[in-house]
Protein backbone atom coordinates (compact mmCIF):
# COMPACT_ATOMS: atom_id res chain seq x y z
CA UNK A 1 0.00 0.00 0.00
CA UNK A 2 1.65 3.23 -1.17
CA UNK A 3 1.35 6.19 1.19
CA UNK A 4 0.75 9.80 0.26
CA UNK A 5 4.42 10.79 0.56
CA UNK A 6 5.50 7.92 -1.70
CA UNK A 7 2.79 8.81 -4.20
CA UNK A 8 3.95 12.44 -4.19
CA UNK A 9 7.56 11.39 -4.66
CA UNK A 10 6.62 9.09 -7.53
CA UNK A 11 4.58 11.80 -9.23
CA UNK A 12 7.42 14.26 -8.74
CA UNK A 13 9.87 11.91 -10.43
CA UNK A 14 7.47 11.41 -13.32
CA UNK A 15 7.05 15.17 -13.60
CA UNK A 16 10.82 15.63 -13.57
CA UNK A 17 11.16 13.19 -16.47
CA UNK A 18 8.41 14.95 -18.40
CA UNK A 19 10.00 18.35 -17.82
CA UNK A 20 13.38 17.06 -18.99
CA UNK A 21 11.79 15.52 -22.06
CA UNK A 22 9.79 18.57 -23.04
CA UNK A 23 12.50 21.19 -22.64
CA UNK A 24 15.00 18.88 -24.35
CA UNK A 25 12.57 18.75 -27.27
CA UNK A 26 12.39 22.55 -27.40
CA UNK A 27 16.19 22.76 -27.42
CA UNK A 28 16.63 20.06 -30.05
CA UNK A 29 13.67 20.91 -32.27
CA UNK A 30 13.16 24.68 -32.02
CA UNK A 31 11.15 24.69 -35.26
CA UNK A 32 8.55 22.34 -33.83
CA UNK A 33 5.20 23.66 -32.60
CA UNK A 34 4.35 23.59 -28.90
CA UNK A 35 1.46 24.72 -26.72
CA UNK A 36 3.45 27.80 -25.86
CA UNK A 37 5.35 30.42 -27.86
CA UNK A 38 9.09 29.96 -27.80
CA UNK A 39 12.22 31.23 -29.45
CA UNK A 40 12.63 34.75 -30.79
CA UNK A 41 8.89 35.13 -31.29
CA UNK A 42 8.31 34.64 -27.56
CA UNK A 43 11.26 36.81 -26.54
CA UNK A 44 9.98 39.72 -28.64
CA UNK A 45 6.50 39.20 -27.22
CA UNK A 46 8.02 39.77 -23.77
CA UNK A 47 9.97 42.92 -24.68
CA UNK A 48 13.46 41.52 -25.03
CA UNK A 49 15.42 44.05 -27.06
CA UNK A 50 16.13 43.30 -30.71
CA UNK A 51 19.76 44.29 -30.33
CA UNK A 52 20.37 42.02 -27.39
CA UNK A 53 18.66 39.13 -29.17
CA UNK A 54 20.73 39.78 -32.31
CA UNK A 55 23.88 39.67 -30.20
CA UNK A 56 22.98 36.42 -28.45
CA UNK A 57 23.80 32.97 -29.87
CA UNK A 58 21.11 31.80 -32.26
CA UNK A 59 20.75 28.50 -30.38
CA UNK A 60 20.06 30.25 -27.09
CA UNK A 61 17.42 32.49 -28.66
CA UNK A 62 15.75 29.70 -30.66
CA UNK A 63 15.41 27.54 -27.53
CA UNK A 64 14.02 30.31 -25.31
CA UNK A 65 10.95 29.02 -23.48
CA UNK A 66 10.22 31.70 -20.90
CA UNK A 67 6.87 33.28 -20.00
CA UNK A 68 8.02 36.85 -19.54
CA UNK A 69 11.12 38.99 -19.06
CA UNK A 70 12.61 38.98 -15.54
CA UNK A 71 15.29 41.49 -16.61
CA UNK A 72 12.73 44.28 -16.86
CA UNK A 73 12.60 44.70 -13.09
CA UNK A 74 15.72 42.86 -11.91
CA UNK A 75 17.94 45.99 -12.11
CA UNK A 76 21.07 43.85 -12.35
CA UNK A 77 24.20 45.89 -11.68
CA UNK A 78 27.85 45.46 -12.64
CA UNK A 79 29.73 43.30 -10.19
CA UNK A 80 26.68 41.51 -8.82
CA UNK A 81 26.25 37.77 -8.35
CA UNK A 82 23.16 36.45 -10.11
CA UNK A 83 21.51 33.05 -10.07
CA UNK A 84 19.23 32.08 -12.96
CA UNK A 85 16.94 29.34 -11.69
CA UNK A 86 16.03 27.05 -14.58
CA UNK A 87 18.61 28.49 -16.96
CA UNK A 88 17.74 26.22 -19.89
CA UNK A 89 19.63 27.04 -23.09
CA UNK A 90 21.09 30.11 -21.39
CA UNK A 91 19.52 33.22 -22.91
CA UNK A 92 18.60 34.92 -19.62
CA UNK A 93 21.93 33.92 -18.07
CA UNK A 94 23.82 35.38 -21.04
CA UNK A 95 21.93 38.66 -20.76
CA UNK A 96 22.59 38.71 -17.01
CA UNK A 97 26.30 38.07 -17.66
CA UNK A 98 26.45 41.12 -19.94
CA UNK A 99 24.87 43.21 -17.20
CA UNK A 100 27.12 42.06 -14.35
CA UNK A 101 30.24 42.41 -16.46
CA UNK A 102 33.64 40.84 -15.82
CA UNK A 103 33.55 41.60 -12.09
CA UNK A 104 30.22 39.85 -11.60
CA UNK A 105 29.20 36.22 -11.42
CA UNK A 106 26.28 34.41 -13.03
CA UNK A 107 25.30 30.91 -11.99
CA UNK A 108 22.74 29.00 -14.00
CA UNK A 109 20.85 26.17 -12.33
CA UNK A 110 19.11 23.53 -14.44
CA UNK A 111 17.62 20.13 -13.74
CA UNK A 112 19.14 18.73 -16.92
CA UNK A 113 22.94 18.30 -17.09
CA UNK A 114 22.72 18.14 -20.88
CA UNK A 115 20.96 21.53 -20.90
CA UNK A 116 23.74 22.90 -18.72
CA UNK A 117 26.24 21.73 -21.32
CA UNK A 118 24.23 23.44 -24.04
CA UNK A 119 23.97 26.68 -22.06
CA UNK A 120 27.69 26.57 -21.34
CA UNK A 121 28.40 26.22 -25.07
CA UNK A 122 26.18 29.24 -25.81
CA UNK A 123 27.91 31.22 -23.10
CA UNK A 124 31.32 30.41 -24.56
CA UNK A 125 30.04 31.47 -27.98
CA UNK A 126 28.89 34.77 -26.47
CA UNK A 127 32.22 35.55 -24.91
CA UNK A 128 30.68 36.11 -21.47
CA UNK A 129 31.09 34.08 -18.31
CA UNK A 130 28.56 31.83 -16.62
CA UNK A 131 28.77 28.63 -14.65
CA UNK A 132 25.89 26.21 -15.03
CA UNK A 133 25.24 23.75 -12.22
CA UNK A 134 22.90 20.81 -12.62
CA UNK A 135 20.48 20.62 -9.73
CA UNK A 136 16.96 21.06 -8.42
CA UNK A 137 15.45 24.40 -7.47
CA UNK A 138 14.18 22.64 -4.34
CA UNK A 139 17.83 22.16 -3.33
CA UNK A 140 19.78 24.98 -4.99
CA UNK A 141 23.51 24.08 -5.18
CA UNK A 142 24.63 27.53 -4.05
CA UNK A 143 26.03 28.72 -0.70
CA UNK A 144 23.93 30.58 1.85
CA UNK A 145 23.69 34.36 1.48
CA UNK A 146 25.99 34.47 -1.54
CA UNK A 147 23.71 35.91 -4.23
CA UNK A 148 22.60 39.48 -5.02
CA UNK A 149 19.81 38.63 -7.46
CA UNK A 150 17.81 35.53 -8.29
CA UNK A 151 16.01 35.52 -11.62
CA UNK A 152 13.78 32.82 -13.01
CA UNK A 153 11.58 32.59 -16.06
CA UNK A 154 8.63 30.22 -16.20
CA UNK A 155 10.12 27.61 -13.92
CA UNK A 156 8.74 27.77 -10.39
CA UNK A 157 5.32 26.61 -11.55
CA UNK A 158 6.92 23.27 -12.42
CA UNK A 159 7.57 22.42 -8.79
CA UNK A 160 5.25 20.54 -6.46
CA UNK A 161 7.13 22.10 -3.55
CA UNK A 162 6.97 25.81 -4.21
CA UNK A 163 7.34 26.72 -0.54
CA UNK A 164 10.61 24.80 -0.46
CA UNK A 165 11.79 26.61 -3.62
CA UNK A 166 10.99 30.01 -2.13
CA UNK A 167 12.81 29.06 1.09
CA UNK A 168 15.84 28.04 -0.96
CA UNK A 169 15.81 31.33 -2.85
CA UNK A 170 15.63 33.15 0.48
CA UNK A 171 18.55 31.10 1.80
CA UNK A 172 20.94 31.85 -1.06
CA UNK A 173 20.17 35.57 -1.24
CA UNK A 174 22.33 38.00 0.71
CA UNK A 175 20.53 40.31 3.12
CA UNK A 176 19.04 42.95 0.88
CA UNK A 177 19.16 40.58 -2.11
CA UNK A 178 16.48 40.74 -4.77
CA UNK A 179 14.22 38.35 -6.61
CA UNK A 180 12.77 38.93 -10.06
CA UNK A 181 10.77 36.08 -11.51
CA UNK A 182 8.14 35.52 -14.14
CA UNK A 183 5.88 32.56 -13.77
CA UNK A 184 2.55 30.99 -14.55
CA UNK A 185 -0.16 31.26 -11.93
CA UNK A 186 -3.70 30.00 -11.80
CA UNK A 187 -6.61 32.03 -10.52
CA UNK A 188 -8.61 28.92 -9.72
CA UNK A 189 -7.94 25.61 -8.01
CA UNK A 190 -6.94 23.08 -10.66
CA UNK A 191 -8.84 19.81 -10.83
CA UNK A 192 -7.12 16.75 -9.38
CA UNK A 193 -6.90 15.17 -12.84
CA UNK A 194 -4.89 18.15 -14.05
CA UNK A 195 -2.73 18.19 -10.92
CA UNK A 196 -1.96 14.49 -11.40
CA UNK A 197 -1.06 14.79 -15.10
CA UNK A 198 2.69 15.44 -15.49
CA UNK A 199 2.26 16.30 -19.16
CA UNK A 200 0.00 19.20 -18.29
CA UNK A 201 2.38 20.37 -15.54
CA UNK A 202 5.33 20.34 -17.91
CA UNK A 203 3.50 22.18 -20.68
Amino acid sequence: MINAAEAQASLEETLKDEILRMYQEVAENPDAEFHFFHGREAAELFDYGSEELDAAPRGAVDSFAGVGNPHLRADIQPGETVVDLGSGAGLDAILASRRVGPEGVVIGIDLNPAMCDKAQAHVTESGVQMECRAGRMEDIPVDDESVDVVISNGVLNLSFRKRRVVEEIYRVLKPGGRLSITDIVSGKQLSQSIVNDPKLWAS
Binding site: E33, F34, H35, F36, F37, L45, F46, D47, V67, G68, N69, P70, L72, R73, A74, G154, L156, K162, R163, V166, E167, Y170, L173, K174, P175, G176, G177, R178, L179, S180, I181, T182, D183, I184, V185, S186, G187, K188, L190, S203
Partner: protein, 52 residues
Protein backbone atom coordinates in the same frame (compact mmCIF):
# COMPACT_ATOMS: atom_id res chain seq x y z
CA UNK B 1 3.12 32.46 -4.90
CA UNK B 2 2.70 36.05 -3.73
CA UNK B 3 1.60 34.80 -0.31
CA UNK B 4 4.44 32.27 -0.22
CA UNK B 5 6.99 35.02 -0.76
CA UNK B 6 5.55 37.10 2.06
CA UNK B 7 5.27 34.11 4.42
CA UNK B 8 8.92 33.22 3.74
CA UNK B 9 10.07 36.63 4.92
CA UNK B 10 10.45 38.57 1.70
CA UNK B 11 9.59 42.27 1.77
CA UNK B 12 8.36 44.66 -0.92
CA UNK B 13 6.63 41.83 -2.77
CA UNK B 14 5.21 43.20 -6.01
CA UNK B 15 3.49 41.52 -8.92
CA UNK B 16 2.17 42.49 -12.31
CA UNK B 17 0.56 40.57 -15.14
CA UNK B 18 2.78 39.94 -18.18
CA UNK B 19 0.63 41.60 -20.83
CA UNK B 20 1.84 39.73 -23.91
CA UNK B 21 1.58 36.23 -22.54
CA UNK B 22 -0.72 33.72 -24.21
CA UNK B 23 -0.53 30.10 -25.28
CA UNK B 24 0.11 29.40 -28.95
CA UNK B 25 -2.76 26.97 -29.42
CA UNK B 26 -6.24 28.44 -29.17
CA UNK B 27 -7.59 25.37 -27.38
CA UNK B 28 -4.87 25.64 -24.75
CA UNK B 29 -5.48 29.38 -24.38
CA UNK B 30 -9.21 28.79 -23.96
CA UNK B 31 -8.56 26.22 -21.23
CA UNK B 32 -6.06 28.52 -19.58
CA UNK B 33 -8.55 31.38 -19.50
CA UNK B 34 -11.15 29.09 -17.95
CA UNK B 35 -8.79 28.48 -15.05
CA UNK B 36 -7.55 32.04 -14.83
CA UNK B 37 -4.07 30.99 -15.89
CA UNK B 38 -1.76 33.88 -16.65
CA UNK B 39 1.88 34.88 -16.49
CA UNK B 40 2.96 37.29 -13.80
CA UNK B 41 6.16 39.07 -12.98
CA UNK B 42 7.08 39.17 -9.30
CA UNK B 43 9.80 41.03 -7.47
CA UNK B 44 10.73 40.93 -3.83
CA UNK B 45 13.54 41.83 -1.50
CA UNK B 46 15.19 39.92 1.36
CA UNK B 47 15.33 42.04 4.52
CA UNK B 48 18.61 43.51 5.69
CA UNK B 49 21.59 44.81 3.79
CA UNK B 50 21.81 48.29 2.34
CA UNK B 51 18.51 50.00 1.66
CA UNK B 52 18.00 50.96 -2.00
Amino acid sequence: MFRLLEESGFQKVRSAVVPGFRFRKDSTQDSAEAYGVKAVMMTARKPGGKQA
